[in-house]
């Protein structure tokens, strides 16, 4: 894989250095490190703060969701590696506005351990922390083992709901409650067509033939549920939607928000073809689409493939989803 990089060891720091130059009014560093970023206005007194974090290589995840109406701070790890608990703790201290901090991130072993550790460190400094772990990937573990599922593009809906709730002035426990309730209604599944290469490793994360696809593969190349010959957009979409619709609370008469996410190399043209079929399937089941997001939200460097996320809505979720948000990567105005 050809890459436009310098020394691979500096990949993450140089990326963030450039990003801060592009968005000096939106984001700032906590200290000298490029791995701890917060909103320019942080800490915001009287508002529940939201911290997220994870490995690099997934832009716009995770740092792209730090800004108005979403998260307050982010700890950034090496490519596909957890940030340290100390980095998370430093972010936590920098964003706490006296109303406590929500840790909201994806369900990966390293991230969970480090955030748990950071929450103990915060406790010792009398900062109240609560945690909500996002585990929306239906392919990564069967029903009954939801706590072993990985967190993928559903994170964006979780950020949106939690961020809007915090901005509205809800207290920490209420933000946690509404976010957990939203996550019960959120399901994602994806397909991978080609691997990506971690700059420092130099080799593709997995091998797959030119004419093959793997349904359910994780965003770090974790094994999926089925590898086979590449099928048509409609067939792939049908297979994924079948799994999502059986797994989650998506019923006739419901409204859902749809998010079609590119894993990095799949172009928007193909996402629209997928979107077309998603709407047909939902239509045939009497499910209405309320908001439709499409583009790069949670990528895996240059991996080809996409994921579909559905979020079953009620009035409260619709209002929170409609709330304005603004980061360098995600802008939503007040009106639909």
């Amino acid at each position: 894989m050809k890459k436009i990089i310098n020394n691979p060891e500096n990949f993450v720091d140089e990326m963030i250095e450039g990003l801060l130059k592009a968005h000096p009014d939106s984001l700032k560093k906590v200290g000298d490190s490029y791995r701890e970023l917060v909103r320019a206005e942080a800490p915001i007194q009287g508002k529940v703060a939201i911290a997220t974090g994870g490995g690099s290589g997934h832009l716009p995840l995770f740092l792209g969701y730090v800004g108005k109406g979403l998260c307050d701070g982010v700890a950034i790890g090496d490519v596909f590696a957890s940030p340290s608990s100390q980095e998370m703790f430093n972010v936590t201290k920098a964003i706490d506005g006296g109303k406590g901090v929500l840790f909201l991130y994806g369900n990966y072993g390293g991230d969970v351990m480090n955030f748990d550790m950071a929450s103990e460190l915060a406790e010792m400094e009398n900062i109240r922390v609560r945690t909500v772990v996002v585990a929306d990937d239906v392919a990564s573990a069967p029903q009954g083992n939801e706590d072993r599922r990985r967190g993928v593009a559903g994170l964006i809906f979780a950020y949106k709901i939690a961020g809007a709730a915090a901005e509205k002035g809800l207290d920490l426990d209420s933000v946690v409650q509404v976010t957990e309730r939203a996550l019960n209604n959120i399901r994602t599944m994806g397909v991978a067509l080609s691997p990506c290469t971690i700059p420092a490793a130099g080799n593709p994360t997995f091998a797959i033939d030119e004419d093959e696809m793997e349904i359910g593969m994780g965003i770090h190349g974790e094994p999926g549920i089925e590898r086979g010959k590449l099928k048509s957009a409609d067939e792939i979409t049908g297979a994924i939607m079948e799994k999502i619709l059986t797994d989650g609370p998506f019923f006739e008469g419901n409204e859902v928000s749809v998010l079609i996410n590119s894993l990095g190399a799949t172009p928007p043209e193909e996402l629209y073809i997928v979107n077309r079929k998603v709407h047909k399937i939902l239509d045939s089941r009497g499910i209405k689409v309320y908001r439709n997001y499409l583009g790069e939200f949670a990528t895996s460097l240059e991996m080809a493939g996409m994921s579909i996320t559905l979020f079953a809505l009620d009035q409260e979720f619709k209002e929170l989803l409609d709330a304005p948000a603004e980061t360098p990567f995600f802008i939503q105005k007040d009106r639909r």
């Binding site: 790890g77 590696a81 608990s85 072993g109 390293g110 351990m113 480090n114 550790m117 974790e222 094994p223």
Partner: protein
């Protein structure tokens, strides 16, 4: 036998040496099931623990352990570094405000360490993790001390129990970390984390009774 902050520093140096000595062994075990960085992580972790202790100037063993654990968590954020750091942090909390530990206090420390690791990793004995060597070792120390044996004898048994524990992991299937993707294929292989636990127990013996062991 009293154990103060200076003793903790001496022990941590020995632990660092022990992990350095076993670096390639741990890398080899880990490469068979994970990404092979365990030896490096452990070396880094205990080097960091030593510098964390160097930055602490008080007499409180609890605070000293917490300082070591925070440095470890920061410098060795990989899984096993975070787990050991969590163990040491919990151990630090358990002996907070003490300046000198008795033998029974050491047992409290060991139990708290296991509890910290277990809570952080959400694993239990039999899951093919570091706990499969540490838990039998601490149990052996507890039994020994309860039966009125010397700490020396109890540590002998602890090392043996940890060694047996590592062997026992060959019969287990990995459920945690990257190794769990190997599922059934992990059977027959020693768990690298459990081996790291054994190195730690050997370091304890190496500190208290340098002439015992190999």
């Amino acid at each position: 036998m009293g154990f103060n902050v200076d003793n903790l520093r001496e022990f941590m140096v020995i632990a660092g040496e022990e992990f350095k000595k076993n670096k390639s062994y741990l890398i080899e075990l880990d490469a068979a099931m994970g990404d092979g960085d365990l030896g490096l992580t452990m070396e880094k972790a205990f080097r960091a623990a030593n510098s964390g202790l160097a930055n602490y100037s008080g007499e409180d063993i609890g605070k000293a352990l917490i300082s070591a654990s925070m440095a470890m968590a920061h410098e060795a954020a990989a899984t096993m570094g975070t787990l050991f750091a969590s163990g040491l942090m919990n151990a630090g909390k358990a002996v907070a405000k003490k300046e000198e530990l008795s033998d029974p206090d050491l047992l409290v420390l060991g139990k708290a360490m296991i509890e910290g690791i277990s809570k952080r990793g959400k694993a239990k004995i039999g899951d093919k993790t570091v706990l499969d060597s540490l838990i039998p070792a601490v149990r052996a120390i507890e039994e020994g001390l309860n039966n009125g044996e010397s700490l020396e004898k109890a540590l002998d048994k602890a090392v043996q129990a940890a060694e047996d524990g590592v062997e026992e992991t060959k019969n287990m299937i990995s459920r945690f970390g990257r190794a769990h993707y190997y599922g059934e294929k992990s059977r027959g292989k020693k768990d690298p984390g459990a081996a790291a636990g054994l190195v730690f127990v050997r370091a304890l013996q190496g500190y208290f009774y340098p002439d015992d062991g190999e």
